[in-house]
């Protein structure tokens, strides 16, 4: 095969792969939109935000307010981020700049293993360890906090591993330059390494949060599943994902369409979050 030809084949394959990825996303959004169409076009989607409660099955007074559930999704994600981002970043800094070789290798293994654990196992562990622990101090135990902790553990490896690769990708000559200016170790890390790697770190956090907002199985097991606006982290909550997972099996007609619409809102929320990040990333410096 001539050089030119093989170049063209490669470029075709790469383009096709990129196109497929885009098409998949579009396809999913399209599918959700079609299924949610009855709700959207009847104008009833406003019920999402005007209805107070979520009781789609009620004969007498069906209500479709998902505000508390959207709020729960956001709060759980936020809590997970507050717990996982600092630990993940600090862990990666330790791994790259302080840990001896042998320990660093084990830390990588451990994080990769953690990343590979199925979410149902996390849920199971949360239910049998975290929930009883919280219950001892602040019943019922199934709560926003439990969900946040379990999710934090799930996204920790993503954040820590991406931060690690961003930090190790920094050219050694840059760090040598920082050292040669008489910067202390902490100054080298905080003022040079972190700012240099910040795009990679931000990407890792975004990936982690993207996973957190969509995570279902582990959360459903520990969050308590009561659709309410929580007053503290110890209150049970019910995120959008749980609702879809729990109700899709038996939902019919209108109810089902509402669930699809809720899914669409979730996808759009994630997209919005990523978009804001991209815009912010582009406008730095």
């Amino acid at each position: 095969m001539s050089r030119l030809r093989s170049d063209r084949v490669l470029s075709f394959v790469l383009n096709a792969a990129a196109l497929l990825c885009g098409a998949l996303v579009l396809g999913i959004v399209l599918f959700l939109s079609i299924e949610a169409a009855p709700t959207i076009f009847s104008g009833k989607i406003s019920a999402f935000f005007t209805d107070e409660k979520w009781q789609p099955g009620s004969e007498r007074d069906p209500q479709f307010g998902i505000f508390s559930m959207l709020l729960a999704s956001v709060l759980i994600t936020l809590l997970a981020a507050i717990l996982a981002v600092p630990v993940g970043i600090c862990g990666a800094i330790f791994r790259v700049f302080y840990a001896p070789e042998s320990l660093a290798k084990w830390q990588d293994r451990f994080l990769e293993l953690l990343a590979g654990i199925p979410s149902v196992i996390f849920g199971f562990w949360g239910l049998s360890v975290i929930v009883p622990f919280i219950n001892r101090y602040h019943p019922p135990g199934q709560s926003l906090l439990a969900a946040g902790i379990v999710l934090a553990l799930m996204i920790l490896p993503t954040i820590a591993l991406t931060t690690k690769s961003a930090l190790t990708a920094i050219s050694p000559s840059l760090m040598a330059g920082a050292a040669a200016l008489g910067l202390s170790r902490p100054a080298q890390i905080l003022q040079v390494a972190i700012p240099t790697a910040r795009k990679g770190i931000a990407a890792g956090c975004a990936l982690g949060l993207g996973r957190a907002i969509g995570e279902t199985m582990a959360v459903v097991m520990v969050c308590g599943n009561i659709a309410q606006i929580p007053h503290s982290v110890f209150d049970p909550v019910r995120p959008v994902t749980s609702t879809i997972a729990l109700e899709m099996g038996y939902a019919t007609a209108e109810h089902k369409s509402y669930l699809y619409a809720a899914g669409l809102v979730l996808v759009l929320m994630t997209a919005l979050f990523l978009l804001v990040r991209i815009r912010k990333g582009a406008s730095q410096w």
């Binding site: 840059l174 920082a178 040669a180 202390s184």
Partner: protein, 257 residues
């Protein structure tokens, strides 16, 4: 040539990477305010020597230095040496320009603030040293833009300015021009030459013509018995015309190397 007075005395220096002796039994006197060029083929320990002068060798796992390097009455290599203030006194410029990929201003603020200068002093010193490297007119209106957008030659001059801002006694240059185009290389060379008298310069270069143009003193490195060492030192002109070591002679006259 400036008046001779020794600033650094290197005695019996050896550098090991684990079991490998990269440099053995090196003796050298570096004169204050002069430009000393280190020349010799690749792999004979010039960079290792340079990095031990500001203890950058500490960063390399398995690297060990023995012997003495006396600067201002103190041994640079002793464990008690305050490495951070040593590096403030002995700056370094690398082969590949390595400004922090942050704003030009931050490139000065980070080291200067770390060493305790006030905001005002930092601004003054930044302006002074940018002027000193001839970069002020080119960048004064874009100090908050990223240093990564500068050309290679500008980046290297920024790195020199950044080192100068700390008012060092010595600046070490490790092949500072070899990653630059000929024009930028000439500008940087002139700049280094202009430091004579105010800063002591130790420069590694593979460009013998450059060494001849700018250096007061020369130290020729060579591999002997598997390890690098200095085979001859002396005033540049004298060495180029009448080196006594056969390897140094053939290297300097361009027969070998």
């Amino acid at each position: 040539m400036a008046e001779e007075s020794a600033l650094i005395e290197v005695k019996n220096l050896s550098i090991n990477y684990d079991d490998f002796a990269a440099l053995r039994d090196v003796h050298l006197t570096i004169q204050k305010g002069n430009i000393t060029a280190l020349v010799g083929p690749s792999g004979c320990g010039k960079s290792s020597f340079l990095q031990s002068l500001n203890r950058l060798t500490d960063l390399i796992p398995g690297c060990q230095t023995t012997g003495e390097m006396i600067l201002g009455g103190k041994n640079i290599l002793s464990p008690g040496c305050d490495v951070l203030s040593l590096r403030r006194k002995v700056g370094m410029v690398f082969q590949k320009p390595n400004p922090f990929p942050q704003s030009i201003r931050r490139n000065f603020e980070i080291p200067l603030r770390e060493h305790g200068f006030s905001k005002l002093e930092t601004t003054d010193r930044m302006e002074d040293s940018l002027k000193r490297v001839g970069l002020w007119n080119e960048v004064s209106n874009r100090l908050s833009r990223s240093a990564a957008n500068l050309s290679g030659g500008q980046q290297q001059r920024l790195c020199i300015a950044r080192a100068l801002a700390l008012d060092p006694e010595v600046i070490l240059f490790d092949e500072p021009c070899s990653a630059l185009d000929p024009h930028a290389s000439g500008v940087v060379e002139d700049l280094i030459s202009s430091l004579r008298g105010s800063v002591t310069v130790v420069i590694v270069t593979h460009n013998l013509a450059q060494a001849r143009r700018i250096a007061d003193h020369l130290a020729v490195f060579w591999v002997r018995g598997g390890s690098g060492t200095i085979v001859e030192t002396g005033a540049t002109d004298a060495l180029f015309t009448s080196a006594t070591d056969p390897d140094a002679k053939s290297y300097l006259t361009g027969i070998r190397g």
